[in-house]
């Protein structure tokens, strides 16, 4: 069952990737693209976890954890830049 479900999941995730990428490329506004980038990184987390199951390997865990811990920092920096210009202020 898993052998069928995993490719299906990957397919669904692939579709999600495509839609997100389309938003990333189309915009139209910068916040739109940043949201898309953020979503892309969360999609990657899901992809990594699914890959871990499919390869029966726990070695992917750290990558997912790292994206979860740090991925939002980029989003925060970019959106703060849009709000304030300077991201590190006094």
């Amino acid at each position: 069952m898993l052998a069928i479900v995993i490719p299906v999941c990957l397919g669904i995730l692939g579709l999600a990737f495509l839609l997100t990428l389309a938003r990333l490329l189309r915009g139209p506004s910068l916040p739109d693209r940043i949201v898309a980038l953020d979503t892309l990184s969360i999609n990657v987390i899901a992809l990594i976890v699914v890959l871990g199951i499919s390869l029966d390997s726990a070695l992917f865990f750290e990558a997912a954890l790292l994206i979860a811990v740090m991925g939002f920092v980029g989003t925060v920096a970019l959106s703060k830049y849009l709000q304030r210009g300077d991201i590190i202020e006094y």
Partner: protein, 934 residues
């Protein structure tokens, strides 16, 4: 050893000038004159030994650079004896003369030092027993000549004259180097004794002609032969003792000395005869003609020197043996009378303040003694009987008749010689008559002129006496010297010749008479014509042409340089890419088949999708590159996909690294973006874009081809060793980490150094940097009022402990699972930097304010000391140790020195990252704070 002393004595004297350092020319000259005098005595004491048997040479040799064949080898035979005698003898007289010539406030120390150095160098040229050594001294004379011509360095004519002389004679020296190298290559040695014995081999060698041309180039430039004569008149900007010494008696003779020195190996071919004789002939006439038209007294003497050097060269080029003897004889005579003439000219200049022939006349009344001396010397120059010049001129005329170079046009040479004789007579008369006779009082600055100090005339008197004595009794005075020198030059039994004043009425005598009469006629009857010609050529200045040529050369050089270095980085990068892509591609084109023997693996959908997304993002970055923030967002997408690719292709450590580096890079670039314009408006032309596209596609293709070709070929990597040894030898399960901290820990050591240096460099760059800070968003909308939104501020604080825990986890885990010091450090850095973003600099640094730089430095120390630790146990640097310890109640614990090393990595990376980003972040603090910061 005596030969060394010959050169060393003037050198010692030169050193002494520096030591004594007296500014009084007269006293200094008195002190130092002993050294050349001693050298002269030494030389004369060797006379018997040199003259004793024909062809005998004294030698001294010490190896200097055997690899090159360059030995410190000296050789004294008849020829070098003659020249050494001239150098020392005239040198002595010049020093004596200069003692009175130099003005009180001129730097006598420098002058005498240079003059003595020149003397040593010139002695080196004539005594060199090794051809390369000769080149060494040869160029030294050029350099010293440059310095002496430019002695009055504030004068434009001196500076320009000096540079011109250096360019011409120095250039000739370079040709000499090439010629000598060829000659040495042909002979297998640079030792004169060996080279001179191989005439046959040399002359039949295919390289003979280029070698000859190169050597003759040196000869002709140094001896101011046509068409390289132009430098010599401008060398007259030098003080007169220098002109007398270098530019008449010695240095310019170095060229003809070389002709004599290499005569045995070079002479005897048609190339030699024609090149040498025709150059000499042209110079003879050219020099004599121009000498007649000079207005400057020293200019006249300079062109006269050129002409006489041409005469000597012509003699060397004639195909008779006796012509060579005549050449040597004329070298002696010319040195004597020309030196005395220069000194006389110097006296005139010194006492009257001018050298302008149009202003000088009737000086015989004011300085009769000098006048007599100058007249005698001039007559000798003109080749009037009773004086030495006559004798060699007679021989010269005789040889022009005896030679047979031009077949049916053979008469041209004697005819031209006679004409040159006439011209010589004419300019000699001009000198005598123009300066010393004529009516009216001279129009000179120092009026009335008077005789110089007594001892200033002594050298002139001495030389004039020689002119007379040699002219009267040549055989008894210079007979031996001439014979010895000629023998050394010819290296064959001497031809029959007789040194007598009177040989009876013969054709040469007739030619003499014709030339003297013609010269007198020309001068006395055609003075108006001469004056017109003189005015006609006055605007023709070789110096101006030369300077213009140099300026043109400089303009050309600047044009080329500016064309290449247009200051545009794109041009440079394009050049570089062109080289780095096209040339390897050229060699890669030899590859027969792109695909190797390994079958390409099955297509992996996930990998393919990842790569496709990656490529799309990359292309999107290119499309969007003018909108900077957008490009940055898209680039970040690329980075994300690269980490997925790493993960997919079995490189979890790389994925972790990429993810963390990506975040820090984004922070960095966003910080930078604040100061940068948001969009780029550059619109390069189609040509530029097409060029860039070609380079880009070329680069992409090259890398793709190389990657594919290599990946489809088998290989046998050493890395199986790492996999095998990772656990037993390195004590870790994560092979990549064991590689980084153990197998190739040294690379990591270097890598953290790079990072630390980058941090220091950034800190250094940021010091004192002032950047304009935009007060509103580029689109004109106001910034939001909240600098630190509550949600972000609070959650960032909450995230910090959690993230630190994750960092510790990644650090400790790295040895066995994906992770390690580097990634842990980036996580820590990001967590801390988030505080800067979320809570501001003041808040953050009030709570977390360690010295990041010190931490970074301590990290390197820690890693390095860990490496050194192994030395204590007799193992090489960076040898690791690890062990499994069983602790009761806790279980088995693995400890490895590599972990301490990794901790060092952690500290350095954390410290550096924080230094870089936080320092960039706190750039635009409120002014008060910025002042404190600075």
């Amino acid at each position: 050893m005596a030969l060394v002393l010959l050169i060393a004595l003037p050198l010692l004297a030169a050193a002494l000038t520096r030591v004594v350092g007296m500014r009084a020319a007269r006293l200094l000259a008195t002190v130092i004159i002993g050294f050349p005098l001693a050298a002269l005595v030494l030389l004369l004491s060797l006379r018997a030994e040199v003259f004793a048997q024909p062809g005998h040479a004294l030698g001294w040799r010490v190896a200097w650079l055997p690899a090159l064949g360059l030995d410190l080898s000296l050789r004294l035979d008849g020829l070098s004896f003659l020249f050494a005698l001239l150098v020392l003898g005239v040198g002595l007289l010049v020093i004596l003369y200069a003692r009175y010539y130099l003005a009180r406030n001129e730097s006598a120390v420098r002058f005498f030092c240079l003059l003595l150095l020149f003397m040593a160098a010139m002695l080196g040229v004539v005594l060199a027993g090794n051809l390369l050594l000769l080149v060494v001294f040869w160029e030294l004379t050029s350099i010293l000549s440059f310095l002496l011509i430019g002695f009055w360095s504030w004068r434009t004519d001196a500076r320009q004259g000096a540079r011109m002389a250096l360019a011409v004679t120095g250039g000739g020296g370079l040709a000499l180097l090439a010629g000598v190298l060829l000659l040495g290559h042909i002979c297998g040695s640079f030792e004169l004794s060996e080279v001179l014995a191989q005439a046959g081999k040399v002359q039949h060698h295919p390289l003979y002609l280029p070698m000859l041309v190169l050597i003759l180039l040196a000869v002709f430039t140094k001896s101011a032969q046509f068409p390289f004569s132009f430098w010599l008149p401008h060398a007259m900007a030098a003080p007169t003792p220098v002109s007398a010494y270098l530019h008449s008696a010695t240095m310019v003779k170095a060229g003809v000395f070389l002709l004599a020195r290499l005569y045995p190996v070079l002479d005897g071919t048609n190339s030699w005869f024609y090149l040498v004789s025709m150059t000499g002939l042209a110079t003879l006439i050219f020099g004599a003609g121009l000498a007649l038209l000079q207005r400057d007294l020293k200019g006249l003497l300079a062109y006269s020197t050129i002409s006489h050097l041409g005469l000597i060269t012509l003699l060397f080029g004639l195909d008779t043996q006796l012509s060579t003897v005549a050449a040597i004889f004329h070298i002696i005579n010319h040195a004597v009378f020309k030196a005395s003439l220069f000194m006389a000219a110097g006296i005139i200049d010194h006492e009257t303040g001018t050298r302008d022939l149009d202003r000088l006349h009737g000086l015989a009344r004011y300085m009769p003694h000098t006048a007599v001396l100058a007249i005698v010397a001039s007559l000798s120059m003109a080749g009037v009987p009773l004086f030495n010049g006559f004798l060699s001129k007679e021989m010269f005329f005789g040889e022009t008749l005896a030679q047979g170079l031009l077949g049916e046009f053979n008469w041209v040479i004697p005819a031209a010689a006679t004409m040159a004789g006439a011209l010589t007579m004419a300019y000699s008369l001009r000198f005598i008559y123009g300066v010393f006779f004529g009516r009216g009082q001279p129009d000179v600055p120092n009026y009335p002129p008077h005789e110089p100090p007594r001892f200033m005339k002594v050298p002139v008197e001495f030389l004039v006496v020689i002119c007379l004595v040699v002219g009267l009794v040549p055989a008894y005075t210079v007979g031996d010297l001439l014979a010895a020198a000629s023998l050394a030059t010819l290296r064959a039994p001497l031809p029959e010749y007789s040194l007598h004043l009177w040989h009876g009425v013969n054709l040469p005598l007739l030619m003499s008479l014709v030339s003297m009469a013609g010269g007198a006629t020309l001068f006395f009857l055609r003075r108006d014509a001469l004056r017109r010609w003189q005015q006609a050529i006055e605007h023709l200045s070789a110096r101006r042409s030369f300077e213009q040529g140099m300026a043109a050369l400089e303009r050309f050089a600047r044009a080329v340089t500016q064309w290449l270095e247009d200051g545009s980085l794109q041009t440079y990068v394009a050049w570089m890419l062109l080289a780095m892509l096209a040339v390897p591609a050229y060699f890669l084109a030899d590859l027969e088949s792109l695909a190797g023997s390994v079958p390409a693996g099955a297509i992996d959908p996930i990998g393919t999708a990842t790569l496709a997304l990656l490529a799309l993002c990359a292309i999107a970055v290119v499309v969007a590159h003018r909108q900077r923030l957008l490009a940055l967002v898209l680039l970040s997408g690329c980075g994300l996909m690269v980490s997925v690719a790493f993960l997919r292709f079995s490189a979890p450590d790389l994925a972790l690294t990429q993810i963390s580096v990506e975040v820090v890079t984004i922070l960095l670039l966003v910080l930078a973006l604040f100061y940068l314009p948001r969009e780029t408006h550059d619109r390069p032309g189609h040509g530029r874009r097409a060029r860039d596209a070609v380079l880009a596609l070329g680069g992409g293709t090259l890398l793709a081809v190389a990657a594919y070709a290599v990946m489809t070929r088998p290989y046998d990597p050493v890395s199986t060793f790492y996999v095998d040894q990772s656990v037993p030898g390195g004590g870790g399960h994560n092979v990549v980490n064991v590689l980084l901290v153990d197998f190739r820990g040294f690379d990591t050591m270097g890598e953290i150094c790079v990072l630390l240096i980058a941090g220091l460099a950034v800190q250094a760059l940021l010091k004192g940097m002032r950047l304009p800070t935009p007060s509103a968003a580029p689109d004109g909308l106001p910034w939001t009022s909240q600098a630190h939104p509550l949600l972000l501020a609070i959650l960032a604080r909450l995230m910090l402990p959690l993230t630190l825990l994750v960092a510790v986890f990644i650090l400790l885990r790295g040895h066995n699972q994906p992770g390690g010091g580097f990634i842990a450090a980036l996580i820590t850095s990001v967590a801390l930097l988030l505080q800067y973003v979320a809570n501001g600099v003041r808040w953050t640094e009030a709570r977390i304010a360690p010295d990041y730089r010190a931490i970074a430095g301590a990290g390197i120390l820690l890693a390095g000391l860990t490496g050194l630790g192994s030395l204590a146990f007799g193992y090489p640097f960076l040898t690791t140790a690890f062990g499994h310890f069983h602790i009761p109640g806790i279980g088995e614990v693995e400890l490895a020195t590599a972990m301490i090393f990794d901790l060092g990595v952690f500290c350095t990376v954390t410290g550096t990252t924080l230094v870089i980003v936080s320092h960039l972040g706190v750039r635009n603090l409120p002014p008060a704070q910025a002042a404190e910061d600075a």
